[in-house]
């Protein structure tokens, strides 16, 4: 970096480059927003799904699990759990319901949340909705 390349040139590259790519990013975001309705399974969002997502958040499920690969890596991926459990909501509800209060000696265990049946149903419904989002073929297999 000699005298030919000055500080003001570097500064202009910073401001110009950043501005250009911010605008490009906003443009891509605009196009993404336009295309989303046919990818994000929004037609499946019901009040029940909304309740399920609220419960998902208020019990910090993401603190152990991943959902579409994002979250913590302590417990299984749940973006495709509905499919892994054979498209069976009752299986999901049963699993959550049956967690022992004091855990399993020596092993990882999901806490017992004491959900009502309505809440369990909402969570299962939210996970079903999540499993039907078009994720470009991810995860590679049913194990998540």
């Amino acid at each position: 970096m000699n005298e030919v390349f000055t500080k003001s040139m570097a500064r202009n590259i910073f401001y110009g480059g950043s501005l250009f790519f911010i605008l490009l990013f906003l443009g891509l975001t605009f196009d993404t927003t336009r295309q989303l309705p046919k990818l994000d399974n929004r037609q499946a969002i019901t009040d029940k799904v909304a309740l399920g997502k609220a419960l998902w958040e208020e019990n910090n499920c993401i603190g152990c699990h991943t959902l579409l690969g994002e979250g913590a890596y302590f417990a299984p991926e749940l973006g495709n759990i509905y499919k892994r459990f054979g498209n069976n909501k009752a299986a999901i509800k049963g699993f959550i319901m049956s967690r022992p209060k004091d855990g399993i000696p020596g092993r990882r265990s999901m806490p017992q949340f004491n959900f009502t049946d309505e809440e369990l149903d909402a969570i299962a419904e939210f996970l079903k909705y999540s499993s039907e989002i078009n994720t470009a073929g991810w995860p590679p297999n049913i194990q998540g």
């Binding site: 208020e58 579409l68 194990q143």
Partner: protein, 464 residues
């Protein structure tokens, strides 16, 4: 210390180190829970330990950035801070909010905390890294506004340097992007899309401006190299950071339900993201080699060089490792991600905060230029202990990640998650061991503030 008001940086640095300790202790708890699943269950379930671990990290880094700003902005602006009193008030508000939030995580179930803080009024909780109650988030915004006002007014009334402007730009970006944490639609894809505007555009965007500015400041001080040269480097590094990093957000958009063209945008631009970090390494070593004086604070020089190298390895190399979409298809959301997360946060942001603390703390504590030789030797021991431990944590998590990907995602008959976790437990044990070494390093680090205070300041060793 040239200006009285720089002293407000000190409580920020002390609180940052305190939260750092908390972060590491909970990291060790989590590490043990990985192999002894029922450890502390159900009192401190894994998710709670993780919230404390990650949130303490974020808060102490923010504390460090604020302390850095309060220290360097008056010196760069050549004027006293606009309002030292406001800086102290915001410090106590921020610390109280952090302590109350952590207490909330530990004392009541998360769902109760959500209820107590009225999460249903404006639901923002329960998303990774943004687990703080909404009221805490509002507190963070208020603190950030007061902070930026204070620093901004100081810059306005004083000298405007590139370092000041870049730092301020980074801090404003940090505050503005945080506002997206209040947007939480039921539509999961939209939720995730904008969640990354906080998370990615922080750590792979505006935080790099803050990192660059702090590094440039310290390098000017410890090398005496001409400001023009250093600021030119700073601009070109942050230009590359934003040019690659903004569209690089796309590497998080591969599998969350957005158009597939993001696989191209994300792969190509995030493949460029190592460049600014590589330049930062070249920059730091170049400046130190061209130094016009030998600074007696050798520990600070070591941290400055260390952060450049480790940021390049952690963010650059370990990021590139799994950023191309055909690779990420297999590695997404595995221990590979965890490996990258650990080394990049440590290399880029932990180490830059420790760099500025290393440079500023002796001055804030009344030394003229540097701590005693004895303190510095201890501090440099802590540097090597923590850094080498983090390298091994990263290696072990990477090994665990490769095995996990193979067994769970690649083999002909993929195996279930929990079964695979049992198979790779050895590497989790090794990681926990490396974590203990990290803790020892941290203890040595803290000891360096208490030992050697009665000895004379370190002096420059004449170069041969």
């Amino acid at each position: 210390m040239q200006y009285q008001s720089q002293a407000v940086a000190k409580p920020y640095f002390i609180a940052a180190i305190g939260l750092f300790v908390l972060q590491i202790l909970f990291g060790l708890i989590m590490g043990l829970q990985y192999v002894v699943g029922d450890f502390l269950f159900p009192e401190i379930p894994f998710n709670v330990a993780r919230m404390v671990h990650t949130n303490a990290l974020i808060i102490w880094l923010l504390m460090g950035f604020m302390g850095a700003a309060y220290y360097l902005v008056p010196e760069e602006s050549e004027t006293e801070l606009f309002s030292p009193r406001l800086a102290l008030v915001t410090f106590w508000v921020f610390l109280a909010a952090a302590v109350l939030t952590v207490a909330g995580y530990l004392l009541v179930p998360y769902a109760t905390l959500a209820e107590l803080t009225g999460n249903h009024l404006l639901p923002t909780m329960g998303r990774e890294f943004l687990e703080q109650p909404t009221i805490t988030k509002i507190g963070i915004v208020v603190v950030a506004l007061a902070f930026i006002f204070n620093v901004g007014m100081t810059v306005l009334k004083g000298r405007k340097t590139a370092i000041n402007l870049v730092l301020l730009l980074g801090l404003v970006g940090l505050a503005v992007l945080f506002l997206f944490s209040f947007y939480n639609p039921t539509n999961l894809v939209l939720d995730k899309y904008y969640w990354w505007w906080v998370v990615h555009l922080w750590v792979e965007g505006v935080w790099e401006l803050i990192l660059g500015a702090i590094l440039a400041f310290v390098l000017i001080k410890v090398t005496g190299v001409d400001r023009e040269v250093i600021e030119k480097w700073l601009y070109i590094i942050i230009a590359m950071a934003l040019i690659s990093g903004i569209i690089g957000t796309g590497h998080h958009y591969f599998w969350i339900g957005v158009p597939e063209y993001w696989q191209w945008w994300g792969s190509i631009f995030s493949a460029l993201e190592p460049l600014p970090f590589f330049m930062m390494t070249v920059f730091a070593f170049n400046m130190v080699n061209r130094r016009r004086r030998n600074h007696p604070n050798r520990a600070a020089v070591l941290w400055a060089l260390g952060t450049a190298v480790m940021a390049f390895l952690g963010a650059g190399v370990w990021g590139f490792l799994h950023t191309l979409s055909p690779v990420n298809y297999y590695t997404h959301g595995t221990q590979i991600t965890a490996a990258h997360g650990h080394m990049s946060f440590y290399g880029a942001y932990v180490m830059i905060v420790l760099t500025i603390i290393s440079y500023a703390m002796p001055l804030l504590r009344g030394r003229k230029v540097a701590a005693s030789n004895k303190s510095q030797v201890l501090e440099m021991w802590s540097f090597w202990l923590m850094t080498v431990a983090m390298v091994f944590i990263t290696f072990f998590l990477t090994a665990a990640g490769i095995l996990q990907v193979h067994m769970q995602r690649v083999m002909d008959k993929p195996l279930p998650f929990m079964y695979v976790q049992d198979q790779i437990a050895l590497f989790y044990w090794l990681r926990e061991g490396a974590g203990l070494v990290f803790l020892i390093g941290l203890i040595v680090y803290i000891a360096s503030f208490f030992i050697g205070n009665n000895e004379p300041e370190a002096e420059v060793v004449p170069s041969t």
